[in-house]
Subunit: 448 residues, 2 copies
Amino acid sequence: MMKVVVVGGVAGGATAASQLRRLEPDCDITIFEKGRDISFANCGLPYHIGGEVAERGQLIAATPETFGKKDVRVHTDHEVIGVHPGGHRLTVKNLETGEVFEESYDRLILSPGGRPRIIPALEGVTAVHVLHTLEDMDRIMKFIDDEDIKEAVVVGSGFIGMEVTENLRMRDIDVTLVHRNENLYGHVEAEMVAPLLQTLEDQGVNLKLNAEISRVEDGCAHLTNNEKIPAPMIIQGIGLTPNTGFLRGSGVRVTDDGLIPVNEYGQTNVDNVYALGDVMETKYLHVPDVAANIKLAWPAHRMAYTIANHIHGAYDIKFEGLLGTNIMRFFDHEIGSIGLEQKDVRGIDHFVIDHQQNFKAGYMEGASKIRIKMYVGHDGTILRAALISKSGVDKRLDTLAAHIRTGGKAQDLINIEVAYSPPFSSPKSFLNMVGYKAVEEMKKRGLY
Amino acid sequence: MMKVVVVGGVAGGATAASQLRRLEPDCDITIFEKGRDISFANCGLPYHIGGEVAERGQLIAATPETFGKKDVRVHTDHEVIGVHPGGHRLTVKNLETGEVFEESYDRLILSPGGRPRIIPALEGVTAVHVLHTLEDMDRIMKFIDDEDIKEAVVVGSGFIGMEVTENLRMRDIDVTLVHRNENLYGHVEAEMVAPLLQTLEDQGVNLKLNAEISRVEDGCAHLTNNEKIPAPMIIQGIGLTPNTGFLRGSGVRVTDDGLIPVNEYGQTNVDNVYALGDVMETKYLHVPDVAANIKLAWPAHRMAYTIANHIHGAYDIKFEGLLGTNIMRFFDHEIGSIGLEQKDVRGIDHFVIDHQQNFKAGYMEGASKIRIKMYVGHDGTILRAALISKSGVDKRLDTLAAHIRTGGKAQDLINIEVAYSPPFSSPKSFLNMVGYKAVEEMKKRGLY
């Protein structure tokens, strides 16, 4: 009987195990998870703090018990500390007892994820929290209650920093948001985030750009700009460090950034060893020579399905590469992007379409602008697009994703038929207009 | 100098004239419109009755004066009553003076639209209205005020009937909705409209299915089921009759249904004569052997652009055919479809995927179901899909449109990357799940 071991039991690992069980009713599946919980909805954690997710239990998709019923063994508080592909063996540490033991595998699926980065000045400070696991969320909510928190400092303005800011405000907690450079929400172009800055102001958030915390003393955070602010609670969201140290010496290739390169089946460089989730390095679907590491749920779920099928022997299911589609709601705004990161676009010849119009018929109550900044390669490839609006950003991103995936170019956007009715769009629809502008620009440049 | 005459100055005709002027600064352009107004937003008319369009003026995109500034001559209240392609001439009647005259053209663009059908029992009855033009809207709003209307009868449950029902309710006018068969809102499958029926009930709308008005007497409508209901105002929305009678004997081909077949450039069978808008018969993009007549704004605008380019000599711009993408908001629901009509699907071998899941992460406040019924041909062609939900129907329709347009099949839906965050979707996203179900079904049937 084939024995499959999964390292990591959150989004990627748990989904891979479920998919595999569905395809292979008989194989032996074991999950080792170093944390307390498995299979929780980490994207939903900020929203339970703010109350938009009413019940904590709704965040838990599966437990070791529910997996047990599917005959998948789950060991939580078990950290895999070594991999020995030659002997098809792992070294595992039971974090509760300290016991170290060996385990064999026929197929190994690596989904160890990352751990939140913590700046040195904040290490070991009681008031400092991160929000990466259900345990972290529980700890934050208990801390808010126990310490009767009325104000907090949020460090970092990525997905976590912004979502935590929104949800603390939902609890009427005053927030100081500290971000190390001048670009709030760096996933999207600095020149597009004015509505987020305005919202922060409207929400009474104390924004500190170009600042970092240098130390915490007597309940106050000292910033690098010499400001001192009350900080009874600090939540840090400044990115993840991949949990791939345990692969040292294993022969599994890990990049300088700690990521694991995989191919279209999720295979690493080592036979029978797969990787997925936040640690995987794959490629962009539309610009395959650029490597992609997208720490989001969709790529993890898609690769889980791909790996399960490959182990099952269904080689027709391939991971096509990613578009990096992402979105965030921040109070009454939606902001997101698709395609390469800003830094990657700089290396490729391109022109930019910057367009805005109403997200629905302009004569309808509540109409307001949607804006796109789209980067187009000289053959019409949509390298990247960033969007912001009060509504309809998700629709345009998903439409662009479908369009780009099947080879659609910027000049083809004129042809996308839209579901039009005044509450939803315009007959001269947003992406069509972007396409018309692209055609004009390409003609002007002799590219069309 | 090339002389272009446009018959009809609403969506299709006005857009064609504008686009042509943009491309051809020097040609001679004349529009004949038999109605009082040109270039108004007919899709927005119901929403001004209900107040969601606050200002009447917002519904008017252009006037004869604004066209005059672009050197486009507009003659309203002028009906074209004959076309003589041999001599490149038209016969035009000035409806104000009764004068009949001839006009020459080098290129002729036909966008005469349709006129609302009226059942014989209602012809000439003062209380009876239709809602097709700005004049109609003005008449309805004046009638409501003058007669102090508190209750009304709406006949027909298509786009107009449903939108008028919603907007009369917004004004607190009691509505009886009369529909001739048992299928409310026939654009979508009868088995999917339960939420609309529930909404009608919640809104206190008096629904009469399988009924027609046989006569109106003493302010009451007598129904074919022998019921008698108060009817101080009646608004009829039971479809359009194409205004193509004036083409009789012209040599321009008109189908038995009164439609004008056109090719990918909008050309009719007669040289230098184009047609667009509600009267054009084109084909479905994804099933080209099925003729399409889609009386919606997007096709009209797209064909206007195509025709203008063709007259300009840009033959690379083609009308690819239609997908029939349509959507309606009805109070807090969204409902729409894409692809062939139900009747057309019956003639093609297919299977059906009927799927529902939450339109956003299920643990988020306000999550509820989105349902799709998708008809798949045996090669995976998405023949038709109908959707209903409280949110996100437009997003899925536009995404499907982009996907189908570039050749995407049902089994490829698993690969569409989505903009995921809990307020917007799920990592196991709706269209992906539909794709997984399609793959399973195709495997089961030996089609994959």
